[in-house]
Symmetry: C2
């Protein structure tokens, strides 16, 4: 909580952050000193992840600030979920274009979204920074995991089944609606816009998968790109069946109408998990996941040939690259 | 290391960050997965601090990138120094205006400065993000400290002597030179510009002070503002003697010429430490600090009256506020 801030910025921090979160017993010293002081439980490793959201690139500048606060923490918690880690603390750096009532109001709403989600996962905001400049947000999350239990990218094995959680392409279709490229009905919008603006980090699922799944990643860049990250890190390939990809009714309708698989495969921003499961653990995984109400679907298999491919409904095979615009 | 990055940005990260730092034994998994996985030594607390630097506010956009890389890490390490913590890991989020050769070159130089300082303090870069947008940098540092040993802001006691390290106002005068408000000679510039662009975090001093000093803070906002932070947090006041403030020859000359104490008291960006020492520990502190070649000077005393004041050379008393522009 340092840097060349003005007294006004200190006030903003004090007002919205200092008194904001439920205290955790493992926070010795939170916001307000040069550093936060934190206790790690004995026998646990620390998992950390940092993400930045920039106005005009990751969100439209006039996005609802409450949703943006939620999403800022959600995309970071999603990285903990992808490792199977249990969330504990967050730090937050906010760069705001100006001071004054408008931005104080904006910040109040942003913090409401951020802290609302933080509360759900017993996450305490322990530090950060506030600066003046083009609107941008960086957050870091910190979680715990037992040694050797983390779900990594580099541990997929040939023959593993590939699973995804939830449905894919919802956030991408909502974005196209908001950008005027596609028109959703009001009832479709009510379902899909929250998938874009208020994603749910799959924390409970990740925790259930640790020690059972081989490799995992969260889908931020798109199924093709993120599955490629797993395959590259693990030195393997993958083949998936397009028709096995779980789709919401609206996205299913869209794909039927357009025959365009780019949306569920490459749009990204869904923050679902992809994970690979050895055949021997499939039953155990299905049992473990049963208690968390997140649907999972098997969409393919890890292969030896180091390419990532998708079999389309017409039987043709299509390569899936690592770039999220690969299909376009 | 997630977010909607393009393949080009992933390449930048891979090239400059993945292979960049010496590996520490306590890093189980560094850059390249959803999270870094880290081991905290048993019996140690984790100290974390995050700072953001924005182009046009914290640095001029055409500043030497190597210096900026150094300064990004230095201002963060300075927060660990102010707590007495031993540095361990860093995360780094870079927002760059564009890709291409110019920015690849810029990033190479930036990382050279960042990693050069990281190496000095055995700090390993373990994660972060790269995004496209207005030039801005956020870094977080992580260090260790024994429970109960941290130098906090809220522990100054009435009667404590107030010390500062190094000399104050150097960075401020260098900034005025760079902004054309004051003209340094070439020999003065050689000494003062590095004080602005390549500050030295007082890590060794902070470690020596832990368990001996009462309260500490690093001077980022200026002596008046940062001493006020200590006093506010501790519920005390302070009185300092202007003539006891350690000044470099150039700043001394400037103050004599202009009779303007704003520079050493309010300019900030010096990243020296202010700390308070109970009378009984003064000898122990002087002995402990002797082995680190950082000069320290006693400039005043903590008082009961909850105001922060400075006695000027003419005998007049001047209030020191919490805003860093208070004097202007």
């Amino acid at each position: 909580m340092t840097g060349q801030t003005t007294p006004g910025e200190f006030d903003l921090i004090r007002h919205y952050i200092l008194n904001a979160t439920k205290q955790r017993d493992d926070v010795v010293l939170g916001v307000g000193d040069d550093c936060a002081l934190l206790n790690i439980p004995p026998g646990q490793q620390l998992a950390v992840s940092m993400d930045t959201l920039v106005a005009g690139r990751h969100f439209i500048p006039n996005v609802d600030p409450t949703s943006l606060g939620h999403k800022t923490l959600a995309v970071n918690l999603s990285d903990l979920a992808a490792m199977g880690a249990t969330p504990a603390w967050a730090t937050l750096s906010l760069t705001l274009p100006a001071a004054g009532a408008t931005w104080q109001n904006w910040l109040g709403q942003f913090m409401q979204g951020f802290q609302g989600l933080a509360k759900q996962y017993q996450v305490q905001l322990v530090g950060g920074d506030t600066t003046r400049g083009p609107l941008s947000i960086t957050a870091q999350v910190h979680g715990f995991i037992e040694p050797g239990q983390a779900l990594r990218r580099d541990t997929a094995a040939i023959g593993d089944k590939i699973y995804v959680s939830g449905t894919l392409g919802d956030a991408g279709l909502a974005l196209r609606d908001q950008q005027g490229q596609y028109k959703l009905s009001e009832s479709e919008r009510r379902i899909l816009i929250p998938r874009l603006n208020n994603p749910t980090p799959r924390i409970a699922l990740g925790i259930k998968l640790k020690g059972l799944a081989h490799a995992a990643i969260d889908i931020s860049d798109g199924l093709g790109a993120d599955l490629s990250h797993i395959c590259t890190a693990s030195g393997v390939g993958a083949i998936i069946q397009a028709q096995q990809i779980p789709l919401s009714e609206t996205v299913q309708h869209y794909v039927q109408k357009t025959a365009e698989w780019n949306l569920p495969v490459s749009a990204g921003d869904d923050y679902e998990l992809i994970f690979t499961v050895p055949k021997a653990q499939q039953t155990a995984v299905l049992q473990a996941v049963h208690s968390v109400s997140v649907p999972i679907a098997c969409i393919g298999q890890i292969t030896a040939d180091q390419t990532v491919k998708m079999i389309l409904p017409d039987g043709n095979t299509h390569p899936l690259g690592s770039g999220y615009d690969h299909f376009q």
